[in-house]
């Protein structure tokens, strides 16, 4: 058995002290001399033509340095090459309440706010679309002229023979499921600081440096280059600490481009930090989704065929939408063995903020439908839901019907773990009235095997520099966003080099310093950047080992790097697993000796040839090789890149994580309130490189799923978001958060770094259906619309008993939802919104730009 010294040990994040002392810097914590504050004017209309913008009165205000509008940077961009439909600021047309119209750069926030009031905009309102199914019927006043019927993209996939599969089935069921819209609500509002410098040779404006709260510095550099018409080499993007991403910072957010455009116009550094309300408008969260799902099974529970139609309400811009709608279909595969699949996916445009990638990208809402329907089938056929899932397991290594390669597969053990720990067999169905257990499973990619920008470039590259001081500097483009990216990188390198963590300094996510990396999204960092770090460390280790072998008169194969020293095999310390500080195993160097060179070194070490300090080995290697650097990169293997059909690029991954969960809930039948008592979550992460971090990711995912299951939803009225605040958009507080028991399952993936796979997203999707299945077990109602708010649960309970329908849900029974409703059927909040919304009572009497 391999024993590791750093891998598999719970260690504090390498940046933990900065976070707990307040010393760590996030983008908004930076300022520059002469820096201006930027403020953005947003559209009060969901869909309107801009007839005229007059900024003259605002420009006349003392302290206003620059005002920019769409004409100042009209180049189109978008995160996907197929979806370049955004401009920094609206050009000719606004498409949602909150769309970006103009930006003021002023000496302080107060003056910038005053200036916004003085900008006059004449709008000509257009008919607007708020419901995806309605929007898809549109033939005029399209949101984007080149998208007929307001459909961003549709896909129609057939794998195997679905008709034959249904014909062979003993039992077929179908239903419609709805999942309302949710958003990341990361604690840090987006922030960007942009500053140009003067080129010494031309004497004109030259390079631009941007500090931004981004998950992907490289994509930001790429899109800034498109919009500003600057070569990428003239752009430097630096990612300071990021206060949570969850996908919401994985693409280019309007302020990131607007800040740079404003800095260019103002000839001064500009910083823009969103207000919380603006964060909600920037959005890019998980779309409202309609899932029409049909499943066929044999009497024993074996799935024969699945037919799934998904409509996503994508909002006003493409964003990651094409990828989201593909994930929804692609990840029907790779969890269970489904021989026949039909998938029809529609990404619709509506006049609301754009939806994008959010934790569990594209898979979560479909998984809610799928796992719920499995539970329904199990109930009808009188099967144990756990047994039904076991019956439909994949037999890896395998390639699924839709072309996904699965190697490591810890799902069976995940199911065993939660079944045992929750007392599933003994307790299910025997709990007191109103209390129940529910089970569900989920999975997720460990990074996408195909990058969104098609090329042959590696997905991750890591460079390492070691110098005579014995310090190991690791350069990675991977983005630490709180998930532990920097710590993982340091651990992998420390393990390979047999050195302590304190020796390692990680320089990350700075496009001038670090090699290109596709950043932190689709749970790719551990697998891809981790593999690159592993290869870089092995590359540099090779040089240390050959030099050390020469010094110790042995073959390189007999050199062992361990416990912060370099040993001749057989002489290695027996203190296995100790993580010691460099001081502890001090080599006895005299100050200055390292720099004075190898002559003294050689003399000093004569007589002691069976081990040496890390520093001595490094000095020997530099003297021998003339420098000590290593580089490693990772690109997913061709076999993992999926099939050939249209849209096959999304879904394939070198490895998939697996999760099984059991939730225990009780339902108050008088109020409809659901209380989750405990969730047992088993997650197969391949190998846990840092167990405390894996546990944190799994618990965090389950907890976020819990929010979507019970209380989080974005509530709309006429395209106006009614709850754009952290009190109104209710993510669970500590009093509402149950105990979550996390079980780490290690399937040891053959291609992952030390066998590791993803841990940060895969567990989220199972939580929602686990809770809905538990509600069914508790009170016998099947909720097919998420979240399961008290109003919905009560409406379902009353419908079941044939009682009077409740007004809050407009009489709709959430066990059989048909379409989304304005106001969502939730009265958690009283609602608030921008005062300039045309239907806001506060606006009446004010000068209007034309009422709708």
């Amino acid at each position: 058995m391999i024993t590791f010294s750093v891998i598999g040990k719970s260690v504090a994040m390498v940046d933990a002290a900065g976070k707990t002392t307040g010393a760590g810097k996030y983008t908004d914590d930076f300022s520059l001399p002469g820096m201006l504050v930027g403020k953005i004017l947003h559209s009060p209309y969901p869909h309107a033509l801009i007839k005229r913008i007059d900024t003259s009165r605002a420009r006349a205000l003392d302290g206003v340095i620059a005002i920019v509008t769409g004409e100042d940077a009209p180049n189109r961009y978008g995160i996907l090459p197929v979806g370049h439909d955004e401009t920094a600021l609206a050009v000719g047309k606004v498409r949602y309440v909150g769309d970006n119209v103009a930006c003021v750069a002023a000496v302080n926030e107060e003056i910038a706010d005053q200036a916004l009031e003085l900008i006059e905009v004449d709008y000509e309102p257009l008919p607007a679309y708020f419901d995806a199914e309605e929007s898809m019927k549109a033939d005029s006043d399209l949101i984007h002229e080149n998208r007929p019927n307001n459909i961003e993209k549709d896909y129609h996939h057939v794998f195997g023979n679905p008709e034959k599969g249904f014909a062979e089935a003993d039992y077929v069921t179908e239903a419609r499921y709805l999942a309302n819209e949710v958003t990341h609500a990361a604690m840090e509002p987006h922030s960007t600081l942009a500053s140009f410098e003067i080129d010494p040779h031309t004497g004109k404006r030259g390079r631009l440096t941007v500090w931004s709260s981004t998950q992907v510095p490289y994509y930001l550099q790429h899109k800034l280059s498109l919009v500003l018409e600057l070569p990428m080499s003239q752009l430097r993007v630096i990612k300071p600490l990021v206060g949570g991403g969850f996908g919401g910072k994985s693409e280019i957010i309007p302020l990131e481009i607007i800040t740079a455009v404003a800095a260019r116009a103002a000839n001064a550094p500009v910083k823009i930090t969103y207000t919380r309300e603006e964060v909600f408008w920037a959005h890019r969260g998980r779309p409202r989704t309609i899932i029409d799902l049909k499943t066929g099974v044999k009497n024993d529970g074996r799935i024969t065929s699945v037919d799934c139609k998904v409509i996503q309400d994508g909002g006003a811009y493409c964003s990651y939408g094409v990828v989201t709608i593909l994930y929804s279909g692609a990840l029907l595969g790779a969890l269970y063995d489904i021989p026949n699949i039909r998938y029809d996916g529609y990404r619709a445009l509506t006049n609301k903020p754009a939806c994008g990638a959010m934790r569990g990208h594209g898979t979560v809402n479909v998984r809610f439908a799928f796992e719920s329907q499995m539970d329904e089938i199990a109930a009808t056929l009188n099967l144990d839901p756990a047994e039904m899932r076991r019956l439909n397991l994949l037999k890896p290594p395998t390639v699924t019907a839709n072309g996904l390669r699965v190697l490591s597969y810890g799902l069976p053990e995940c199911i065993d773990q939660v079944v045992t720990r929750s007392g599933w067999k003994e307790r299910r169905g025997k709990l007191p009235k109103g209390r129940g257990l529910g089970m569900a499973c989920s999975h997720y990619v460990s990074g996408a095997a195909n990058s969104i920008i098609r090329s042959d470039m590696p997905h991750s590259t890591v460079n390492i520099k070691i110098d005579r001081d014995g310090g190991v500097v690791v350069y990675t483009g991977a983005s630490e966003i709180g998930q532990g990216s920097d710590t993982m990188t340091a651990q992998v390198v420390a393990e390979v080099l047999g050195c302590s963590l304190s020796r390692i300094k990680v320089i990350a996510a700075d496009t001038d310093l670090t090699p290109i990396d596709l950043g932190s999204y689709s749970s790719r960092v551990t697998f891809m950047a981790g593999n690159a770090a592993l290869r870089a460390a092995e590359d540099v280790k090779k040089d240390i080992v050959t030099a050390a072998a020469r010094r110790m008169n042995c073959t390189p194969e007999d050199v062992v790097m361990r416990d912060d020293r370099v040993w001749k095999r057989g002489a290695a310390s027996t203190r296995m697993g100790a993580i010691s500080s460099p001081a502890e195993v001090s080599s006895g160097h005299v100050d200055g000796q390292i720099l004075r060179g190898s002559v003294l070194q050689t003399r000093k070490q004569e007589g002691s040839k069976n081990n040496m300090s890390f520093e001595e080995a490094v000095v020997s290697a530099i003297d021998f090789h003339g420098g000590l650097t290593g580089t490693g990169s990772y690109a997913p293997p061709v076999e993992a890149r999926g099939g050939k059909h249209k849209g096959a690029g999304v879904g394939p991954s070198p490895a998939y994580s697996y999760s099984a969960q059991v939730a225990e809930v009780s339902v108050d039948e008088e109020t409809g309130e659901v209380m989750v008592h405990k969730v047992w979550a088993a997650h197969d992460c391949g190998r846990a490189l840092n167990p405390v971090a894996v546990e944190g990711q799994v618990i965090g995912s389950v907890w976020m799923g819990l929010g979507q299951a019970l209380q989080e939803e974005m509530i709309w009225k006429h395209g106006l978001l009614m709850n754009p605040g952290l009190l109104e958009y209710r993510s669970p507080s500590s009093v509402e958060s149950p105990e979550i028991e996390c079980v780490i399952v290690e399937s040891v993936d053959p291609e992952g770094p030390f066998g590791a796979k993803e841990a940060g997203e895969g567990s989220l999707a199972a939580t929602i259906p686990a809770i809905s299945n538990a509600i069914y077990d508790a009170v016998g109602v099947r909720l097919r619309e998420a979240p399961f708010t008290p109003e919905r649960v009560l409406a379902a309970l009353r419908a079941k008993r044939g009682m009077k329908k409740i007004e809050m849900t407009e009489g709709v029974d959430p066990t059989q939802p048909k379409s989304f409703r304005e106001h969502g059927g939730s009265l958690w909040f009283r609602g608030k919104g921008p005062e300039r919304h045309p239907e806001d009572p506060a606006r009446h009497g004010a000068a209007a730009g034309g009422a709708r």
Partner: protein, 168 residues
């Protein structure tokens, strides 16, 4: 608005500052004193990221006028440790994963410090109640409880907290 001269005592040091009467404490701390540990998460006192202690009581600096707090002892997250090492609570949050992205952490540090100062042996329920003034979007709070319990345990047994890797 014309600025006025005020005196603020923050983390044991007195600062003479010219601020507008409508300046909120959070902005003065972050922009005038460069104490950027306190964070702005919501603008409307709903998230707790800006929590500071005023005469030992946690308060939300994003909705407090700076000029109203002359003569009070204000403590920000920067004042928790002595600069030479981490306080036990800070160490425990790192070791047990109580902090992920870290943006909410300064607020939690202030809130938990107040809790433990006033109730050295809180029940699980009391910890949950105390923490409900602060939102975290990463952790689901579970690992924070482990960190807090480790600090309480270390305090009770009067042992030097040996926290690293204690879990798992």
């Amino acid at each position: 608005m014309k600025k006025e001269l005020i005196e603020l005592r923050v983390n044991g040091r007195t600062h003479e500052l010219a601020v507008q009467p409508n300046s909120v404490l959070l902005d003065v701390l972050r922009q005038e004193l460069n104490l950027t540990g306190s964070k702005r998460g919501c603008d409307d006192s709903s998230c707790g990221a800006c929590t500071v202690q005023v005469d030992g009581v946690p308060m939300l600096s994003c909705t407090m006028l700076a000029a109203s707090f002359q003569g009070y002892e204000i403590m920000t997250v920067e004042g928790i440790s002595d600069g030479a090492g981490l306080a036990a609570l800070q160490k425990a949050y790192g070791d047990f994963g109580g902090s992920q992205c870290g943006y909410c952490t300064p607020g939690f540090m202030i809130t938990v410090r107040w809790l433990l100062a006033n109730n050295p042996d809180p029940t699980e329920e009391e910890i949950r109640q105390a923490l409900s003034s602060n939102l975290c979007r990463c952790t689901g709070y579970s690992q924070m409880y482990q960190a807090i319990r480790a600090v309480i345990e270390a305090e009770r047994t009067d042992s030097k907290p040996e926290l690293a890797g204690a879990k798992l």
